[in-house]
């Protein structure tokens, strides 16, 4: 029963943080609330037995994302223009929500051990992992071996993100690659010529 209450309290807390985050106009606060959201979500993941996910969410959602956001904020300014509620967006979001509520109607009950996902495929991991892989943490054995190709893809995604960020704002990698110093003026040369041609 305590699990039930913890679950409910964390969810309500999450909703509170999310609403605060969209109402807040000072972006610094928004980013911190977003980090807090990830941290509380990580706590919720622990309650839901997903310890590996909680660990990652805390390190990445609350840690890395927030740091990146703060770095960005210091470059782009911290105020958001005040805006009224967008009725069109609200309708789309509500429509999507209703579609999902429709899905809930026939969903297998929460927390039951006889749902399809508990009876198909997953038992193989829990029962055979010890013999086939010999690793007690089943998440690790599924992640690295049974679905190792997904994790390979995940590593590539991280690699892709780095390549993408370096291409977009990675002045220093240019200098490292060509052995010459790059100044920001040089880097934005193209933008300036663009502006000049407009003038």
């Amino acid at each position: 029963m305590s699990e039930f209450f913890l679950n409910a309290i964390l969810m309500i807390f999450l909703a509170f943080i999310a609403i605060m985050a969209i109402r807040q106009n000072r972006l610094f606060g928004v980013v911190m609330l977003s980090g807090a959201y990830s941290l509380v979500a990580a706590t919720w993941f622990v309650v839901a037995d997903a310890v590996d996910v909680a660990f990652t969410e805390a390190a990445v959602g609350a840690g890395v994302s927030t740091v990146l956001a703060l770095g960005t904020l210091s470059l782009v300014g911290v105020e958001e223009k005040k805006r009224p509620i967008e009725p069109f967006a609200l309708v789309i979001a509500l429509g999507t929500g209703l579609l999902l509520l429709l899905a809930v109607l026939d969903m297998p009950s929460y927390g039951i051990a006889t749902t399809p996902i508990q009876l198909h495929v997953a038992p193989h991991y829990l029962l055979e992992s010890e013999r086939e892989i010999g690793v007690p943490n089943v998440v690790t054995s599924v992640l690295a071996s049974y679905r190792g190709f997904d994790t390979f893809g995940e590593t590539i995604v991280v690699f892709t993100a780095a390549i993408g960020v370096f291409l977009i704002i990675g002045g220093w990698t240019r200098a490292e690659r060509s052995g010459q110093e790059t100044s920001p003026a040089n880097e934005n040369r193209s933008n300036h010529t663009q502006e000049k041609s407009d003038a």
Binding site: A103, V121, G153
Partner: protein, 493 residues
Amino acid sequence: MLAHAPILQIIIPLLAAPLIVLLRQRDLAWIVAVAATALSFLFSARLFLQVAATGEPIIYEIGAWPAPIGIIYVIDSANALVMPLIAGIAFIVTLVGRGMIEAEVDARDHTLFFSAWMLTIAGMLGQVATNDAFNIFVFLEISSLSAYALVAMGAGRDARALPAAFNYLILGTIGATFYVIGIGLLYMLTGTLNIGDLAARLPEIGDTHTGFAALAFIALGLFLKIALFPLHFWLTPAYSFAPSAVSALMAATATKVSVYVLIRLLFGVFGLNFSGMDEVGTLLLWLGVAGAFAGTLAAIWETDLKRLFAQSSIAQLGYMAIGMGLMSSAGLAATFIHLVNHALMKGAIFLALGGLAMHVGRVTMSSIAGVGRQAPLTVAALLFGGLALIGVPLTAGFISKLYLIRAQLDQQLYVIALLTVISSVLALVYVWKIIEAAYMQDRPKDAVVIRETPAMWVGAWILVIATIYFGVQAESLVDAAFRAAETMLGDAQ
């Protein structure tokens, strides 16, 4: 080694990306990229021939874990057709695109550029080859993330590439997240992620409200990815502000991959009898028609040629949606035929545009005035591509339209058939505008004089020849497309 062909066609371009970073040398980067795409093409072509000869799907169990436990690749008639198309176009664009990349991208960025280039190709191939619904998402993100960065590289010439890339990122991520929600609901119902296993288990336990919502989310997410009207508005800026080589690669392949994934999930997993599929079909049909008109009409008013052909892509994707919406094997086959043909024509057109852009910068109706005489071969390639888009006989575009309209008439959808013909004929207007600009006008005296080099037209002409070949000798393609369509529908029954 041939036994490993299904995985090697993905792994070679995938591992070429880090290799390029390790080599740290521009020329080697290009050589590695060409070699990797060539090998990938050879393996996929070999698999296509093997599947065509035996008719049996080729199964590759990654990590030696069998189907629902692990991730497997299944190369059947459908993806064996799409793989060599993607790999082949990627090879040609990589081979001839170097001049365009050198003209438009800062030389210091070339190694990372080619790395991202290989990632987007490998990501697309991975989505097509895999038989695991979640693995599709992972490779979709590899190709999308690298594509966002590649589009942003257009900022070297036009800063509008940056907001274009950002919008593409937001909408692409919303699309991918919808897809993940849909897959999650499917997983909840069936307990599996393997596409074959999903198709087998879904009819008994999945025909519920939850199943319907799963269908809706997967369809909506992929509608965004294939730029189906009215979710198409990210495509035009992304394609038109990207560097020319990137536009050529993406216009030819990116949306086609998403069309394939949509077909695979709609027909290969849910199947025709799933409740809600009729509604999805009707939606595809009418949104396809709307897209065909919206894209063509928008293209008529465009003066920037890259924007013009990006708009026309929306129309062409509309035709593919109509084919899917017919919910018949003939309609689906028409979609497959058009998928292949459109990839070839759009590849040819954007390569020719890239060749012109090397000299005139922004390719507009006024900047190409009178170039027909200075760059005859390049403009001719553009022209053939345009004629194929309209669907002129003896081009592949004619075959696509023929089979599409035939499939519509089979089902007595005369209004749709008429609308398809009208929107195709309307395409004549914008192609004529280009002919007029390039051939009928005189080149202004103060305009740049273009010295045509083979780099401008070789790639485009390879694809034009393929377009004409499939326009004249259509049987092999038509057979392959019908086999692909029957495989898809057969899975569901």
